[in-house]
């Protein structure tokens, strides 16, 4: 079994209220030098059998259609875990 990692981030132009609140919390506990936090998602897909280019392509389609919403998010990377 192989694990494929898909990472999704909110689009940079969008306000990320959760990231902003987290940045403020970090700044409160000594992270004054941390100016910004953006929170994204990491999906680990366990795949039965070989991860062929076709399987990766299928996962790419699913990442764009379901794992992310292209209006508000970008798929940053799709890769096989080491």
């Amino acid at each position: 079994m192989t694990i494929v990692i898909v990472e999704v981030m909110p689009k940079e132009v969008l306000l990320d209220p959760a990231g902003k609140a987290t940045a403020r919390a970090l700044q409160r506990v000594g992270g004054e030098h941390i100016t910004n936090v953006r929170i994204g998602k990491r999906f680990e897909l366990t795949v039965d059998g070989e991860v062929t280019p076709e399987v990766l392509e299928q996962i790419g389609v699913m990442a764009n259609d379901i794992l992310s919403n292209q209006v508000i998010e970008d798929v940053i990377s799709i890769r096989v875990a080491d």
Partner: protein
């Protein structure tokens, strides 16, 4: 006229929507997310709540549930579809409406009686209002910030697809104070505030006349009874 309300796992306001349809004079019909059966309804409401626990993204998993294939087909044929709150989120995730909804800019859940301005009455769900009319209905959401890229926003504004706008207070950071939008055809409408919670005196928002007497949401459900297939 038969108006269906889809119940997803985690829907909260499906019963209120069914009741609103009945009070408006329609025949309410319960629809179930895992079926491929619209039970011969003439219009559909996607209710508020937290379908699938808002996992992945609000409305995202519901948008891929079995019945949504049939809802999308029906909408594309012209059947009136109204998405309220989580239902609005489902409609944007299903690409029946443009844009997206993100966490409120202030980061907290908000519940208030919200004043809206009706911007467009050329839809299956707003023909009973007048343009510029101000209505007050409850709002309650954590992720109601409407966003769209510049091009989409210009299109929504330019083509008159903004149906409701927040008045006095923008409760969630929505761009251009947008509270609700429609598709080009006018049969699909989505909004964050809850018309189904303002349909019966005694249970609605306060008004200058009496406490809890607001029924400004009722016209939305009455509007759809006037047009079974909107083309």
């Amino acid at each position: 006229m038969r108006v269906g309300v889809v119940t997803f796992p985690g829907s909260l306001d499906d019963r209120d929507a069914l009741r609103a349809i009945k009070l408006a004079g329609g025949e309410p019909v319960s629809l179930w997310h895992s079926e491929h059966d619209l039970h011969g309804v003439d219009a559909i409401v996607l209710p508020g709540g937290f379908s699938y626990g808002d996992y992945l993204r609000c409305g995202a998993i519901a948008a891929h549930s079995p019945i949504m294939t049939d809802v999308v087909d029906a909408a594309n044929r012209g059947m009136p579809v109204l998405g309220i709150c989580n239902g609005f989120q489902v409609l944007v995730e299903a690409h029946l409406l443009a844009g997206g909804l993100i966490r409120n800019d202030h980061g907290t859940f908000i519940r208030r009686d919200q004043k809206l301005r009706v911007e467009n009455t050329d839809t299956a769900w707003t023909s009973g209002y007048s343009v510029g009319q101000e209505i007050t209905i409850p709002l309650k959401n954590g992720e109601g910030g409407f966003i769209a890229d510049d091009e989409t926003l210009a299109q929504l504004e330019g083509e008159g697809l903004v149906v409701f706008r927040y008045v006095d207070v923008n409760p969630n950071g929505s761009l251009n104070d947008i509270a609700g939008i429609r598709n080009a055809r006018g049969n699909v409408v989505g909004l964050m505030p809850h018309p189904e919670h303002a349909v019966e005196a005694g249970f609605g928002p306060n008004t200058s006349v009496a406490m809890k007497s607001g029924t400004d949401g009722l016209a939305m459900f009455q509007s759809v009874l006037a047009a079974s297939i909107f083309s």
